[in-house]
Structures are given as C-alpha cells and as structure tokens.
C-alpha cells in the first residue's frame, strides 16, 4: 500500500444548534485503507459522517478537513459527491414518484459530467444496473420501484450499497449501515465495501457493533467518545470492545 492520504481531519469541531458534538477529531485515512469508527450512542459518530458529507444541520466551528488535498468543507454536498465522497445513509430517504433506475442514472451522469465524460447510454446503463443489482442480490423489480418507497430496512441498506457500487466513490462513508441487518444483508454490505478495497479507494465505517467487522476486517479501529477519538488500534480493539463494551470509556468521559 502507498501512503497517499485520501482524508486528513485535523482538530475538527462541530455543533448542532448550540450543542458542541465534535470536540477535536484528528484522523488520517490513506488510500486502500478501511477505518472503523466505533463508540457509544451520542459519541458523535453519525455527526462526523454527516459533517463529512456536508449536511447543513451541523456547523463546523473549528479545524480542517482535506480530501485529496482539497478543502472538503469548502465544497457543497453535491460537489463532494461528484469528487467521489459517498455517504451511505443510516436512514435512507424515500422518494415517491422517482424510480430507482432514473435516480441512479441521474446521479451517475452528474458524476460523469463532472469528470468531463458523456452521459451514459441508456442501454449501457441498464446493463451496468443489472450487473450491480446482481452483485448486491437485489430483485430486478426494485429498479422500477420508487426510491426506497415501501422498502424494508434491509432493502433500503442494500439499495445504499447498490448506489455505492454504481458510483464507485473514492471515499465511502458508511453510517451505521449494519444496524438492523440480517446476516445475508451484512455479508452483502461487507462485499460491497471489500470491492472498494483497492489502492484508489478508502472506507470509513461508522458502527456501534463489532458484528459487521467480522465480515469487513478494518485496518484501523477508532473509539469515539464525547466528540474525540479516545483510542485507536487494529482490529483487535474491536474485539475487545465487543467483549468489554464501552464502560471503560464512559467512566473516562465522565471522570
């Protein structure tokens, strides 16, 4: 592996309303790496994921984020997506009246246009969609259904992985994509992430449980407590947390 940084977070502070949530995050993710962020509820894991994607409900109050050398915080959510940042949503949104296939093609073409490529031909797109749907083991009928409308929790998460597989992001951020998933769906999420495990990509996986990490072995594990990274380690740290829980950090945080 080369040590080209994809994401460099320095002393990142963010708040929601008047409540500070992130209180000085430092994290560097290099090309080819899979990082897991773990931590108790309310530690700021999802905030970090959403701040990186550009959600406007959060205000960054300090620090910097560089993505492939660029100031990430300066970009709009759509510019980040076009540059290859992908957030797999914890709660994917239903969009009645827009078919999954139309939505995916519109998203893909927005990325292609940004790269200076022509829009994808309709037939080529259908071929790509068919192949990727097979990869995430989704029934072809979902391509004509409205985005996430009436999908089960697992189907929505699978659909997130389908979007990731089609857009092939440079940096994939998974926000508790594993919550509420059965074993089959977990395996598919992990396969989707592992497909991005090449020198051109990096993955940041936010999770509460170690379960997903059985399928998706992270290179680095960080424990987020009270808006800061309290400890970093390798995959062994995840196992340790599974066994002992977050009690130790809770005590440290409240001390």
């Amino acid at each position: 592996m080369t040590n080209t940084p994809i994401l460099e977070i320095e002393d990142l502070h963010a708040k929601v309303g008047d409540t500070p949530i992130l209180r000085g995050i430092d994290l560097t993710i290099n090309a080819g790496e899979v990082h897991a962020i773990m931590g108790p509820n309310g530690s700021g894991k999802s905030t970090l994921a959403n701040v990186l994607a550009g959600r406007e409900d959060y205000t960054v109050t300090g620090g910097s984020v560089r993505y492939r050398g660029k100031d990430l915080l300066d970009l709009s959510p759509e510019e980040r997506a076009r540059e290859g940042v992908f957030l797999a949503f914890q709660y994917p949104v239903e969009i009645p009246g827009v078919s999954n296939s139309y939505f995916l093609r519109t998203a893909l073409n927005a990325v292609r246009e940004h790269r200076g490529e022509d829009p994808i031909d309709a037939m080529d797109f259908l071929k790509l969609l068919k192949e990727k749907m097979k990869f995430v083991e989704m029934d072809p009928k979902f391509q004509n259904r409205a985005v996430n409308e009436g999908f089960s929790g697992g189907e929505k998460k699978r659909n997130e992985i389908l979007q990731m597989a089609i857009l092939e992001p440079t940096l994939a951020i998974l926000d508790e994509t594993d919550s509420g998933l059965d074993i089959d769906a977990l395996r598919i999420v992990a396969e989707g992430v592992n497909a991005l495990r090449t020198e051109d990509h990096a993955v940041l996986c936010v999770t509460h449980y170690q379960r997903l990490l059985n399928y998706l072995v992270p290179d680095h594990v960080h424990v987020l407590v009270d808006g800061r990274i309290a400890r970093s380690g390798d995959k062994g740290l995840a196992l340790e947390l599974e066994e002992k829980g977050y009690a130790e950090f809770d005590r440290a945080a409240s001390a």
């Binding site: 550009g54 709009s76 949104v93 969009i95 009246g97 927005a110 409205a146 857009l167």
Partner: protein, 432 residues
C-alpha cells in the same frame, strides 16, 4: 356585463347566433339576470372573485385570422386522435382522424340541423345544480362540440376538443360541450384550452355529459390559457347504473381559473375518479370545486387533487361529497395534497362531507407542505445539484397525476409542458 346586466345588449348579442330550441337562450338569460355573477358572499365563491369579469362588460370574441403556426398548434394538440378545433369559439377546419363509432359535430352545426340532440343533452343534466355562469353560457349557446356515442360502442380513437384564443381587445367566449355515451359504450374526450399569445380574454366553458348504464367516459381537461386570461369551467356528469367516469383536470395557465366538476349518480353501481393537478405562480389564482352526489346506493368515488404553488399564487380546493339517504354502501375517498414553493403562496383546502345514509365508507384528507429537506440532502449527496434535486422532487409530486393520463402521446406532451412550467417556477423562486 354587470349583475344588473344590460339585458337588451345581451339579447341582441345572442340574437346574432343561430336559433336554439325551446327558448333555451331566453330562459337562461333570464335565469342569469336574476342570479347575477357569483360573488364572494356565496360560500362556494368565498375565495374566488369574479368582479373584474363582471364589471368588464366583455363582448363576444370574434373570429380571428388563422395563420400556419396556429393551425400547426391546433393540429399538434389533436395529435393522432380525432377532434375539432376552435379559435375564439369559432370552428377551424383541421384534418384529423375520424372518431369511429362516435358522432362528432359542432354545436353550431347541431343548432342548425339537429337541435333535438342539444335539447336532449341539456335536459339530462338538469338534475345537477350549477352556478349562474352555466346559465350565462347557455344564454350564448353557439360554440362547442356535440359528441354522441350509440349503445354498445367502443370508440378507440380519443376525441380532442381544442379551444384556442387570441383576441385584439378583451372579449369573452362561451363554449359548450355536450357528450352522450350510450349503454355499455366507451369513449375518451380531451378538452384543451390554449392561449395563443398573452391576450386578455375570458373563456366560460361548460361540459354536460350523460353516461348510460355500463358506459365509461375518460375525460381530461388541460387548461393552458394565456397568463392574462380568466377561465371558468363547469363539468357536470350524470352517471347511469354501473357507469364509470374518469376525470382529470390539469390547470396550468390563466390568471384566474375556476373549475367546477360535478358527478351525479342517478343509479346504483357507478364509479367516478376525479383527479387533478394545478400549478400556479406569480399572481395566479386557481380554484377547484368538486362535487359528488351519491344519490344512489353502491356507488364509489375517489379523488386525488395535487397542487404546486409558488410566487404569490393562491389556490382553492373544495371537495364536496353528498351521500343522500338512499346512498347506502357508498365508498367515497378524497385527498388533496399541496406543495408550496414560496412563503407567499397560499392554499385554502376544505373537504365538505354531507352524509345522510348510515352504512357508508367515507374518508378525506389534506396535506400542505414544503419539499422534504432530507430528500433534497439525500439527492445532493448523490451528486445531484440543489435546483435539479428540487425539480426532480417537484416533478415526482406532479407525476402521480400526469401518470394517470392514459391517452397515447398526450401524457408525454403534458409531461413536457409540466416540466417546462416547473423549471420556470423553480427558477423564479431561486432568483428571489
């Protein structure tokens, strides 16, 4: 024409038209003279003010010269269907398919040659109470179309009635469509109202339809009048046993638009669906009043009206469902959903359920809101820029109605018109 209308002038104007049967015009004129224009003191007209038209004393619109481009637009509206075209209420020769199975003629032609067809259609809808504007329309009966479908006939080709307007000075046209669908017959009728430029005029249209037992009418009205126009319409349908009415109203144009859509179940087993989409911005005003009269048992009605309002536009939806004593086993559902694109846009929505039978299923609902910001962020996080995300979500909202147009070629054309309208509406919100 004020409410103390110049009776003599009106009589003279209508005297210039071909004679109508049974003193119809004179009676209607008297009826209108005693009622006058609807005013906002009437509950049904609380939010829609016709004073400007009432005070304007508009003359009848005159025949306009038809150039090639106009002829092309009329032909385009008919597409590969059958139909008739009119400019300012005057018939224009346009080559179109024949409506196999149906008899299609202008009102003017029928007045001259088959007045009984007109009298019969008008008698049948007499059971429905309508506004005084319909009386005024009858007082000037002369423009419009008469469609008769005999019993046991399926008319495959949709029939388009295209009413275009272009006037040099403000004027009114009163359009009447009379549709009779025989027993176990089926027909699709599309009414188009087109402004050819931004001239000021008033279209006052009324449609009377009578459905025999087991008959089915798909009726689609597309209103794209000039932005300066006033448009008032009354569609009244009497439904026989086991008949079906599918009514769609798409209202995009005109400064003021009022649509009254009424169905009357005269016998058991009938069904009607009343659906609509209105899109207004700037200073536009749009008002839909629907009324379903469950005067017979075992009938069902569904309604879905959706509105998109921007600028300082105002909208009204009033859905009346009357279930009479004899209307047992009625199944009636109604929903009105509105999307507001600006702070200044307003909508007044009101269900009006009057239920006298005790064994019925009735429901109603209304929602008014903005675009879902979570959905916008979701689309932006998928590389779609914000204006495109707003367009996509708004179009999806509209498509639930547009998607119900089942006339080949027409749905695509309406989709294009709706898209262009949306782009303009969203664009103008962004430039504020």
């Amino acid at each position: 024409m004020s409410s103390q209308m110049d009776h003599q002038a009106a009589q003279q104007a209508s005297a210039a038209l071909p004679p109508a049967p049974d003193n119809l015009r004179e009676q209607a004129l008297q009826e209108f003279a005693s009622a006058g224009f609807p005013t906002t003191s009437l509950e049904d007209w609380k939010y829609t003010n016709l004073r400007e038209i009432a005070d304007a004393n508009l003359p009848l619109a005159e025949d306009a010269a038809i150039d090639g481009a106009t002829r092309e637009r009329l032909a385009e509206a008919i597409g590969d269907g059958a139909g008739l075209a009119f400019v300012n209420g005057h018939s224009v020769e346009i080559a179109a398919k024949s409506a196999d199975g149906a008899r299609l003629a202008t009102v003017a032609h029928c007045l001259e040659h088959e007045p009984e067809r007109i009298a019969a259609a008008l008698r049948a809808t007499g059971v429905i109470e309508r506004s005084s504007l319909v009386a005024l329309n009858s007082a000037f009966l002369g423009a419009g179309a008469v469609i008769d479908v005999p019993d046991d006939t399926v008319v495959e080709t949709p029939i388009h009635l295209v009413y275009a307007a272009r006037v040099s000075a403000a004027a009114a046209s009163h359009v009447r469509n009379l549709i009779t669908v025989g027993r176990n017959s089926r027909v699709t009728v599309v009414e188009h109202y087109l402004g050819l430029d931004d001239s000021r005029y008033w279209t006052n249209t009324a449609t009377d339809a009578v459905l025999g037992d087991g008959a089915r009418l798909s009726h689609c009205k597309i209103q794209c009048e000039s932005g300066q126009a006033h448009h008032t319409a009354d569609i009244s349908v009497v439904q026989g046993a086991d008949s079906q009415l599918h009514s769609l109203s798409i209202a995009l144009g005109s400064r003021l638009c009022r649509n009254d859509i009424r169905s009357f179940f005269s016998a058991p087993g009938g069904h009607c669906s009343l659906d609509g989409l209105y899109m207004v911005d700037g200073q536009q005003h749009v008002d839909h009043h629907t009324s379903v009269d469950h005067a017979a048992p075992h009938c069902s009605s569904t309604e879905l009206y959706k509105g998109i309002l921007g600028g300082s536009a105002t909208g009204v939806f009033n859905g009346k469902v009357l279930v009479r004593n004899q209307g047992q086993q009625t199944d009636a559902h109604q929903l009105n959903k509105n999307l507001l694109l600006s702070d200044a846009a307003t909508i007044n929505t009101k269900p009006q359920l009057e239920i006298f039978a005790d064994d019925v299923k009735c429901s109603h609902g209304a929602t008014t809101g903005r675009l879902d910001e979570d959905a916008i962020f979701f689309l932006r996080a998928r590389a779609i820029d914000e204006p495109a995300a707003r367009r996509l979500l708004t179009r999806a909202f509209a498509n639930e109605i547009v998607g119900r147009i089942d006339v080949a070629g027409l749905r695509e054309r309406v989709e294009e018109t709706v898209d262009a309208r949306l782009a303009a509406m969203i664009g103008s919100e962004e430039n504020k």
